[in-house]
């Protein structure tokens, strides 16, 4: 299966990006051809995510703090996690449809094309409407920033975009690993929802709300805590419920790089073990 091989480095990466861009452009053009439909779906995507935040606001209609965190602080967690997931969902979200392609055999078509399969699957059915989710998260984050009690230094300001990018990379690794798992279990697409959308649902709330074992699980097992919890605790000057050393808060880029490497290996392993349904 030639297209699964690492090939000769730079050339294939460039080729992958080119293929990704071409396929994405095609799907964007096709989505914009039905403008009213597109706007409605983008708004729906926005509203679906806004519901989560409406629930948080309804909760705060009767309380001042949840797990010791104020509404702006929870909104900050919500916004940072949402922006990271929103970026990944937009750029890579279609990959969760891999199981369907394995099941109906259409993955074979992608294997025949002279472009990396990963780029093709990631761009497949690229959905511009997912800008709705991203926009909603950006708005909540923007609302929270001037309201959280942070003494903004240059380092702290830079931490916010760094969180977003590292978080997106961590979620990307989870999406990729989940898709790789679908090479073996085609109907298991929902399992990865637990870690992506479920992880996001968890990261929206302060770590103090959850049982320590659960916090440990998302720190050491599936290290989603590096998406926003740990850096946010540093920004907000709050103690870490697990009492980890302070430098751990800055490990986001390292964790993201490790996870992406692992996910890349899982993807290759999955692709190599793929056997077509045949004719």
């Amino acid at each position: 299966m030639a297209s699964g091989e690492p090939g000769d480095g730079g050339g294939r990466v460039a080729q992958g990006f080119l293929a990704y861009r071409l396929i994405v452009r095609m799907w964007v053009r096709s989505a914009l051809a039905y403008r009213a439909s597109f706007l409605m779906m983008a708004f729906g995507n926005f509203a679906a995510n806004a519901l989560d935040f409406v629930a948080i606001m309804l909760m705060f209609s009767g309380i001042d703090a949840l797990g010791g965190f104020s509404l702006p602080e929870v909104a900050f967690l919500y916004g940072t996690s949402g922006v990271s997931l929103g970026l990944t969902d937009l750029l890579l979200g279609s990959i969760e449809g891999l199981g369907r392609r394995v099941r109906d055999g259409t993955l074979d078509v992608l294997l025949l094309r002279p472009a990396p399969v990963f780029a093709q699957v990631a761009a497949d059915r690229f959905a511009l409407r997912r800008l709705g989710r991203l926009t909603q998260a950006v708005l909540v984050l923007g609302w929270s920033l001037p309201r959280i009690p942070v003494d903004w230094t240059v380092g702290r300001v830079l931490m916010v975009p760094l969180m977003a990018v590292c978080g997106a990379a961590i979620f990307a690794a989870v999406f990729t690993a989940g898709a790789a798992f679908q090479f073996w279990a085609q109907d298991a697409a929902e399992v990865q929802n637990s870690f992506t959308y479920g992880g996001n649902a968890m990261l929206q709330y302060p770590p103090t709300v959850f049982a320590r074992e659960l916090v440990r699980g998302v720190t050491f097992l599936v290290p989603l805590a590096f998406v926003n919890w740990l850096p946010a605790l540093w920004l907000l000057g709050r103690p870490d419920p697990l009492g980890l050393p302070g430098w751990v808060d800055f490990l986001g880029p390292v964790v993201a790089a490790l996870m992406c490497t692992g996910a890349g290996l899982a993807w290759r392993l999955g692709l190599r073990s793929y056997r077509s349904t045949g004719s």
Binding site: M41, D187, A188, S194
Partner: protein, 279 residues
């Protein structure tokens, strides 16, 4: 699709038909084993996340919405257990919508069976399998991990199951109306999305309706979506007892009857309108 051969005889036989349709649908969904396991996993993960946020919320406001903590936790796990069965996230009627769009519906209308009853039977079969397959396991895990307010007497469980049945009927009739809209709309995706959002928010899935502040809560509890989850969950956790259970069941039955009747009207209008391409 299952189609009994003695199709032209009316009367008593028709009940047997619809039972056969329901049984066929039950068996069909029973074949999606990996998807069922994946769904149980996801429902359980979300159950844990939401349960912890509710614990924190009820820690701040011990009798919020009239629920004590064990009742609030039982509400969470009831929601996760019924999520698939009641079709809160949509599904079940995608095939009908697709048949309307493609025109295959013309064939269905020629069949000596009622379209609405056919799909109702199919949906009840699906709901029955998913109640067992995707409902029991998360509920058991939830009950092992948290102190849940679950009833001890079989009568309350019986009332709960009856309420779930009525909830499924209401959920079906709402989704049936959305599917029938495809007779008029070229692209029913937008409407399905809006309907899905309303269902998530006003069923109590995002937050129990009794927790909604002021008039919003009062109104939300009169809308049909309340019949899908809020009422069955309240029966189970004991927020409704005695006469209130009966009133809840009547409320559900009234919405179910009204929406099914509306579905018949729309169906009659739609079938008068059908013009299949080419004749």
């Amino acid at each position: 699709m299952l189609w009994p051969s003695d199709g032209n005889e009316a009367g008593g036989k028709s009940v047997v038909w619809y039972l056969a349709v329901a049984a066929g649908s039950f068996r069909r969904y029973a074949t999606y084993r990996i998807a069922t396991v994946a769904g149980v996993f996801t429902n359980t993960v979300f159950g844990f996340i939401v349960a912890f946020t509710y614990l924190a919320l009820w820690h701040e406001r011990p009798h919020l919405g009239g629920y004590d903590q064990a009742q609030a936790l039982a509400f969470v796990w009831t929601g996760q257990a019924l999520l698939a069965s009641t079709g809160l996230m949509g599904g079940g009627l995608d095939e009908l919508q697709e048949r309307i769009r493609s025109g295959d519906i013309a064939v269905d209308l020629y069949r000596p069976a009622d379209l609405q009853l056919w799909w109702l039977a199919a949906d009840l079969g699906r709901a029955g399998l998913q109640l067992i397959g995707r409902g029991v396991a998360p509920m058991v895990v939830g009950a092992l991990a948290f102190p849940l307010a679950l009833p001890g007497d079989p009568l309350t469980w019986g009332g709960f199951l009856l309420s779930v049945l009525l909830g499924v009927v209401v959920g079906f009739s709402l989704r049936y109306l959305v599917a029938l809209a495809s007779f008029w709309l070229l692209d029913g995706a937008g409407l399905a999305l809006i309907s899905g959002l309303a269902c998530m928010f006003f069923s109590g899935m995002v937050l129990p309706l009794r927790v909604f502040p002021g008039a919003l809560g009062e109104i939300a509890q009169l809308l049909p979506w309340a019949a899908v989850l809020q009422v069955p969950a309240d029966v189970l956790v004991g927020a409704r007892s005695g006469g209130a259970v009966l009133r809840g069941l009547v409320f559900q039955a009234a919405w179910g009857g009204a929406l099914l009747a509306l579905g018949r009207l729309v169906q009659a209008a739609a079938t008068r309108k059908v013009v299949v391409h080419g004749g």
